[in-house]
Symmetry: C2
Subunit: 262 residues, 2 copies
């Protein structure tokens, strides 16, 4: 039986109960973090907790525990699942509520942590540029890892229909923002480029580490520049993934992925 951590205690996944009135379920009113664990140790927790608290601030959502309790909870859920190398997911919602868009003044947030085996590294990705939807860089949600994931889901379904592995999302101005579950980096004429936060890139944690440790230019990337990329890769908290094709065009293969420090 899988074990999850829910609102302060470990329990069997079969018994873990989210209420049908939970605003996470009824309105996507919450956020999450995806955290890699190696040998039972969750990685980059200070960065994850800082982003969680910043996002919770945008949503006006209290985080019910301090970082020490959160770290203990993340570690606790690994052992009974016999997972050393794992991917943890921490989900925080505004909790159960009566109907209505406006959050109630007093609410009890829901906090759940689940763990899954760390997926094997994936082969280079064929990506398309999504035609069905755009990322809204006018919304503060573009900077929050919120539960409102349907635009990414629609783009990912579109990629699947096109025989691709993932989709790049443009923002409503037509500039590159990110992929459906990670940030995107492109090699263009010897420079490594990545979209700016104000263009709709989620402030990814792996992205931040790369920006601190490599020569990378954050800039506006209009769609025509995507067509000029010689190579590229995606990043998220699970790691990096090369791009093999963009919109059917094969990329060059002599570019290696950057080293990622912890």
């Amino acid at each position: 039986v899988t074990i999850v951590w829910l609102n302060g205690a470990l329990c069997d996944a079969d018994a873990a109960r989210i209420e049908p009135t939970d605003r996470g379920f009824t309105m996507g009113d919450g956020l999450f973090e995806t955290i890699r664990a190696m040998n039972g140790v969750p990685a980059r927790l200070p960065r994850h907790f800082a982003r969680l608290r910043e996002g919770a601030g945008v949503l006006g959502l209290p985080v019910p525990h301090d970082d020490i309790v959160l770290e203990r909870a993340l570690r606790e859920v690994l052992a009974p699942n016999a997972l050393g190398d794992a991917v943890l997911r921490l989900t925080l919602t505004r909790g159960p509520a009566a109907r209505g868009v406006l959050p109630q003044v007093i609410s009890t947030p829901t906090l759940s942590i689940t763990a899954a085996p760390l997926p094997a590294p994936l082969p280079p990705a064929r990506v398309i540029v999504s035609q069905v939807t755009r990322r809204n860089a006018f919304s503060p949600l573009s900077r929050v890892k919120s539960l409102n994931y349907l635009d990414s889901i629609l783009a990912r379904l579109e990629a699947g229909r096109a025989g691709a592995d993932d989709a790049l999302l443009l923002n409503t101005q037509g500039d590159l923002a990110e992929a459906t579950a990670g940030n995107v980096f492109l090699w263009v004429d010897g420079a490594l480029l990545t979209p700016r936060i104000e263009d709709g890139a989620l402030p990814g944690i792996c992205r931040a580490v790369l920006l601190e440790t490599h020569r990378i230019t954050e800039c506006r990337i209009p769609e025509h520049l995507i067509d000029q990329a010689q190579a590229g890769f995606l990043s998220n908290s699970l790691g990096l993934r090369s791009l093999s094709h963009i919109a059917g065009r094969q990329l060059e293969t002599q570019y290696s992925l950057p080293e990622l420090s912890d």
Copy 2:
């Protein structure tokens, strides 16, 4: 005890269990309908079911029951709650799943129905124009009553901070789209105007009834036109609500709300 309908059966709300891995909870991967019931009879069901099925098509989500079963379920949940005049909420999600953005090929959708007393009519609303976020009319989700409600929640919180009752949302082009939980209609120089679907207005059911039965112009409403409105109102499946103020400016009071046929 409140009774809810969950995946085919009535049960106590205290026992109704959504799994922590439900994609409605983890990703907002689903949609809903809010339905008014009068004397135990849910209103405008053919329109609600048509919109539900159209939205489910956009999301690539199967609707697990035909309209007859859905109607029976909606009626069933009213009686044990001793509710005649009520507001019903039907929520459909892609159901429990392993992690990953791409939906699994085989999934069991989650369908829940909850009921609450019909709220009393509200006094005329003071509204602001949201400055914190915009509605993404480039996304097909702007035409779906999806669970991704955070932009509306952020705007509604902003309204509360400003001492207002609700917020109008502009789209990323700067044109009026809708309010946080309903469509918006404005009287401008003798004409009654409402934003077009392509401007980011949700295809509201009350909106559709009004358009069929009254002289109303669907048009692009740039922000400066909002400042010229003499009066206006909001609409959703629970009814109409006059506007008393927009962005602190008092509106005229001689305009009456249109009659709403069923």
